[in-house]
Symmetry: C2
Subunit: 87 residues, 2 copies
């Protein structure tokens, strides 16, 4: 599954475009976000991407889950992964 | 559809419990959140609620969308609604 890392500074429209493009090639895409700002941008991106793909008959849903990510080679932090796929 | 309002100070475990309880009585539940902190708590609550209902054979998904809410009777703000329902 392709993973798109989203930060608090990511542009939701850009992430939505990347998400829609990636869903053209993959069944599911994972957005990975650490912190409230990054999760906020991810959720906005998914709402926008729903509009991009809806005219093609695709109803996107998202599945939120916790995950552990490694930062700088050894530090571990809890991140949120949002698995996005057609219903 | 029942609406649960989530704030940045909401406890994700408590929201998850309310969500799971509400899904027992309704097909879908809407979480309504304004701001990054509230969206963060909502997403954590959905991830936790997935664990509550999974043993009952329910695979929860969420559909993020934009909505307008009225605050203090006249001010309008853009909020995020997260529609949560079984896949």
């Amino acid at each position: 599954m392709e993973i798109l890392k989203v930060s608090a500074k990511s542009n939701p429209n850009s992430v939505a475009g990347a998400l829609a493009g990636s869903l053209h090639d993959n069944h599911s895409v994972e957005l990975q976000a650490i912190g409230a700002g990054a999760i906020n941008q991810s959720i906005k991106a998914i709402a926008i991407a729903r509009g991009f793909v809806a005219p093609h008959g695709i109803d996107l849903v998202c599945i939120p889950a916790f995950t552990e990510v490694e930062i700088n080679g050894d530090e571990h932090r809890t991140a949120i992964k949002l698995i996005v796929e057609p219903r």
